[in-house]
């Protein structure tokens, strides 16, 4: 017994080192799996506030370009205004608290909230974006996030006033995508190397793809409305042993300077998921 105590005393620093390593690795692997760790909620609130201060300075350097992008978006939206068309289209309203079913029989499925990016990274293999909207402002996990130019990612962690978004530039991010002109759907992933390109898989070889074809979100996605731009085809790589293309996709969104985003809520998500889980555990 005495020898055991002597042994522990002698190697106490080594044991302390092991304890700290185990704590660190437990935090790391549990966060990777569930995107929730004991201290990250509080930490996100602190880092979020500092990042917001930093961002308020950084914002000035990007104002010119942001104005241009907003102008372009305004222009695009203006062109969609119902007054441009002869038959007045009253099927879409942008007010949250109207009835879910409007008078023309259309059912609203997606609704979006604006948010501002306070922290962003592109240089790592798993990149996250932090936005200044949290559970107090109606953000929940697994909501989709888009920018004026294209899809950005998925909400993975929410604190009271901030939310962490897993960007498309994340090894675990998989978005259901489709080829716009023919409609075949596949999955968009990132290989962790070049932040300008994504990889689209599971598109059958029967589809003839050309450089520049649009890749959009598919109709089967429960996070994003259909037909939102993800990127354009850069090159097609077909292995002879497989029935599917591996497509290199240039991202539509510029991840280096993303600043304003929209968080999209699927109003039917709960119902869809309940149905899905009912199948899984009969």
């Amino acid at each position: 017994m005495r020898n055991i105590f002597l042994f522990i005393r002698r190697y106490s620093i080594f044991f302390f080192f092991l304890v700290l390593q185990v704590i660190a690795l437990t935090l790391l692997f549990s966060y990777r799996k569930f995107h929730q760790a004991a201290f990250m909620g509080i930490a996100n609130n602190v880092t979020g506030r500092l990042n917001e201060e930093y961002n308020s300075v950084e914002l000035y350097f990007k104002l010119k370009q942001k104005n241009k992008e907003l102008l372009e978006e305004n222009n695009r939206l203006r062109n969609l205004l119902s007054s441009n068309f002869q038959l007045r289209d009253t099927s879409f309203t942008l007010v949250r608290d109207t009835a879910k079913i409007d008078s023309t029989g259309l059912v609203r499925r997606f609704i979006s909230f604006p948010a501002q990016v306070v922290d962003n990274s592109t240089s790592r293999e798993n990149n996250y974006i932090m936005i200044n909207r949290g559970s107090n402002q109606g953000i929940k996990r697994d909501m989709g996030v888009v920018s004026p130019s294209g899809v950005v990612g998925t909400v993975v962690d929410v604190s009271t006033n901030y939310a962490v978004v897993m960007s498309l530039l994340h090894r675990l991010n998989k978005v259901s995508a489709a080829v716009k002109k023919t409609g075949e759907s596949g999955t968009v992933e990132w290989d962790g190397k070049n932040p300008l390109y994504l990889t689209l898989r599971e598109i059958p070889k029967s589809v003839k793809l050309q450089k520049g074809d649009s890749i959009v979100t598919s109709r089967y996605s429960d996070k994003f409305p259909p037909d939102m731009l993800i990127g354009t085809v850069e090159s097609v790589h077909s292995e002879s042993g497989s029935n599917f293309h591996t497509v290199k996709v240039r991202t539509a969104n510029n991840f280096f300077n993303v600043q304003y985003v929209y968080v999209i809520e699927n109003l039917d998500k709960e119902e869809q998921q309940n149905l899905k889980s009912a199948i899984r555990n009969p």
């Binding site: 302390f16 700290l20 390593q21 935090l27 966060y31 760790a37 930490a43 880092t47 996250y128």
Partner: protein, 177 residues
């Protein structure tokens, strides 16, 4: 300035430089990630308790993790080099001057060659372990080795530049001090 105050300021400065400057550098190449923050641990005083070094390393790593949303990743790597640091110091300091006439490791207190070895070995350990933990998720061995060597080279270069740009004033400690 007392050592405690000096090191507390360094803690914040190294953290913010890593988070707001180096992490915002546009990626030069897929292999290159500029890491400098762990120089804080290499600069801690000689006479610090080994437990204290481990604790400081853990807290420092965890603070960076709060920004990069990878709880535990940098903390694990920091704890590793904090644990290995005393061994490196014992190995590299000449025995007859190992009464530690200076406060903390630097080119002046250890000599350029031993100091460069000290920095290089700990940088290698840090990057190897950090990138190894990242690599566990997705394996491509050549990519991993390439990234470790490129990142270590960049870190080492940056640390040497920092050493030359910001020479730390090191008083020779006498017995009366």
């Amino acid at each position: 300035m007392s050592e405690l105050l000096k090191n507390s300021i360094r803690f914040v400065v190294f953290l913010f430089v890593q988070v707001y400057v180096l992490n915002n550098v546009p990626p030069l190449h897929q292999f290159v990630v500029p890491y400098l923050y762990f120089l804080y641990i290499l600069w801690l005083p000689f006479n610090m308790n080994r437990f204290a070094i481990l604790v400081v390393g853990f807290i420092f790593g965890l603070s960076l993790d709060a920004y990069t949303k990878t709880p535990g990743l940098h903390a694990a790597a920091c704890v590793l080099i904090a644990y290995l640091r005393p061994f490196m110091v014992n190995l590299l300091m000449a025995k007859d001057t190992s009464e530690f006439n200076y406060v903390s490791p630097s080119a002046k207190s250890m000599g350029w060659a031993p100091y460069a070895t000290y920095v290089f070995v700990l940088t290698l350990f840090h990057n190897f372990y950090l990138l190894f933990l990242e690599w566990l998720q997705f394996g491509n061995f050549l990519y991993f080795i390439g990234k470790v060597s490129a990142t270590t080279a960049v870190s080492f270069l940056m640390i040497m530049i920092v050493e030359m740009l910001f020479p730390r004033k090191q008083r020779f400690r006498t017995n009366t001090a």
